[in-house]
């Protein structure tokens, strides 16, 4: 059985949970088995996870699961996996997943693939999972050699589709230990979708000349409902916050649309963004290396092009 950890984001099941379940279901189909979802703590709407492919939803309730603690979550998930006889465990490759994938693998002495971007295949007799390596400069086909396997799924890797109906929700009796960490502050900005999950991204580079000019980026992002990003020197100069820095030493993203304005397209920048589905580059230098990695290009001054593009998007949305 494939057991998927369905994470509730601020108390709600959103895209992160739906993606892992769709992935878990497709993995279960490859193996000829069922996909079950695991929910930790209380969140409304767990039965609705059935729509994405979970045959059953298991829930562990405990006051110890209220704040996130990697060790506690790891015990909860591994105990559930053992009770249910799961052979594949899937978690999202987000901030939660990055804290637990390794712990799960170590606790179960299981082979793991962190940041997978494709559904596993049986290839040459081996359970094989593909993941980006070298920050997206290549992909590795990883064979998992153990009976139990742990996979974390990179965001935006699989289209979410709804098929079935609601699934039964059953309580699972697991007593996770008390956490040794204490969350004393948790703050999440409301508004734009967080960068790693964003489907549309508008990004600015040194060509913007200074932080006071970012309105042209923000306006386009607002018109599209996109998230903003930037190149490394922009974050290093504190023009923009560090979490917006994309590239090999920043966040690696794979949105449907990446619009880059005033970014030259250095190899370290491309590494983190070149798996975006569609790339639009706006640069006044026709020889900017980024054009070689772009689907669509506009050679021109971004201070002129971006407002025009924003108007065109508004016009299209207004129709």
């Amino acid at each position: 059985m494939v057991l998927v950890y369905a994470e509730a984001t601020n108390g709600e099941f959103k895209k992160v949970a739906h993606e892992v379940i769709v992935y878990g279901k497709q993995t279960a189909d490859v193996l000829g088995t069922e996909c079950h979802a695991l929910v930790l703590g209380d969140a409304p709407g767990a039965e609705g996870l059935g729509k994405y492919g979970a045959a059953k939803v298991h829930r562990i309730s405990s006051p110890h699961l209220e704040g996130f603690d990697a060790a506690v979550y790891t015990v909860a998930i591994t105990e559930a996996a053992k009770q249910l006889g799961a052979t594949v465990i899937v978690v999202p490759h987000n901030s939660t997943g990055k804290n637990i994938t390794g712990r799960l693998a170590a606790r179960l002495e299981a082979g793991s693939v962190a940041g997978a971007n494709a559904v596993p295949m049986m290839k040459d007799g081996y359970f094989t999972v593909t993941k980006p390596v070298f920050s997206g400069k290549a992909f590795a086909d990883v064979q998992v050699l153990t009976d139990v396997k742990v996979i974390s799924l990179a965001g935006n890797s699989i289209p979410v589709t709804e098929a079935g109906g609601d699934a039964p929700v059953v309580e699972l009796s697991v007593e996770p230990p008390a956490p040794k960490t204490k969350v004393i502050n948790h703050q999440v900005a409301t508004g734009r979708t967080p960068l790693p999950e964003a489907e549309l991204v508008v990004s600015g580079g040194r060509g913007l000349k200074g932080p006071e000019n970012w309105a042209v980026i923000e306006d386009l992002a607002d018109a599209l409902g996109a998230t903003t990003a930037c190149s490394r020197p922009v974050a290093d100069s504190d023009w923009r916050p560090h979490h917006e820095h994309v590239g090999q030493t920043g966040v690696a993203i794979r949105p449907n649309l990446y619009i880059a304005a005033g970014i030259s397209g250095a190899i370290q920048h491309l590494a983190g963004v070149n798996n975006s589905k569609t790339i639009v580059v706006i640069n006044k230098d026709p020889d900017a290396p980024f054009f070689k990695a772009a689907d669509y290009g506009v050679v021109g001054d971004l201070f002129d092009v971006l407002p025009r593009l924003t108007e065109a998007v508004k016009k299209y949305k207004g129709q």
């Binding site: 984001t9 996130f68 990697a70 060790a71 901030s95 990055k98 804290n99 390794g102 712990r103 693998a105 170590a106 082979g111 793991s112 940041g115 980006p132 390596v133 070298f134 400069k137 290549a138 992909f139 590795a140 086909d141 990883v142 064979q143 998992v144 040794k180 960490t181 004393i184 502050n185 948790h186 999440v188 900005a189 967080p194 960068l195 999950e197 489907e199 549309l200 974050a235 560090h242 090999q248 030493t249 649309l257 190899i267 590494a271 589905k277 569609t278 054009f291 070689k292 990695a293 689907d295 669509y296 290009g297 506009v298 050679v299 021109g300 025009r308 593009l309 065109a312 998007v313 299209y316």
Partner: protein, 247 residues
């Protein structure tokens, strides 16, 4: 305070990744190597800052072959006190690496074990969490802030769209991300001193492979770029909607 910083070796960031003709390996001809930036810029530098403020020792640890020694020496030049290399002939998967680190660190009373948030080669972000599990330590991944007062650590970690502040008693393991510290360039004196600092080579323990990379692929090449005139943004929007189908 006793600090352990685990570092790995990665291809330099401008490296164009090439595959061997059968696609089963990375062609390493001409590849230059560096210390993984997250390990060097954030984990190591923050460890040094904590030592400078409160006293103690900073040990760097690498699991790898003798070829890795120059990268380890760089860590000593930046300011680590001593280094350990767990000797393996070839680099293996995350669980193997984590097992080696855990076996070395077990019983040695490190207050903090620091990692970079991921390597820029395998992008796993797993080794730190694995070591923490093997040693039964609390773990905080993607940490962007770390303060230590006595045995109380306050760690800020990156989460989607925000951050979270966590209190925990040492010993702990954590992985460091951008925001934790600023890169330090080793000076001449550091480089000279690094030559005389101890680099102990330790035997690896046996541990079976749990994964194996069977082959690699390169991303599909983009076709040639479609250029749109700056005064025709309606056309770009049309293409994004009708052709690319992304809006």
């Amino acid at each position: 305070m006793k600090l352990l910083v685990c570092v790995s070796k990665t291809p330099e960031t401008t490296t164009k990744i090439q595959l061997t003709s059968d696609g089963t390996e990375i062609d390493t001809t001409g590849v230059q190597y560096i210390m993984n930036p997250y390990d060097e810029w954030y984990a190591l530098v923050r460890a040094l800052e904590l030592k400078e403020a409160a006293g103690g020792t900073v040990t760097i640890l690498n699991v790898g072959p003798a070829d890795n020694d120059p990268v380890i020496r760089k860590g000593l030049a930046i300011g680590a006190d001593d280094a350990v290399r767990i000797d393996v002939t070839e680099e293996k998967d995350s669980l193997f690496t984590a097992r080696q680190i855990a076996e070395f660190a077990r019983g040695k009373d490190f207050d903090l074990i620091l990692f970079g948030k991921e390597t820029i080669s395998y992008n796993g972000s797993e080794v730190g969490a694995m070591v923490a599990e093997f040693l039964d330590l609390p773990y905080v991944g993607d940490a962007i802030g770390l303060e230590v007062e006595g045995t109380q650590a306050t760690v800020t970690r990156d989460i989607e769209g925000g951050d979270e502040v966590i209190e925990v008693q040492t010993p702990i393991a954590l992985s460091a991300a951008k925001g934790m510290a600023e890169q330090r360039i080793p000076n001449m004196r550091g480089i000279m001193m690094a030559k005389r600092k101890p680099l102990e080579v330790v035997q690896a323990v046996d541990f079976p492979d749990t994964t194996r990379v069977a082959s690699y692929q390169k991303p599909a090449e983009k076709g040639s770029v479609k250029l749109i005139e700056p005064d025709n943004m309606d056309e770009l929007v049309r293409l994004l909607h009708e052709e690319a189908k992304v809006i």
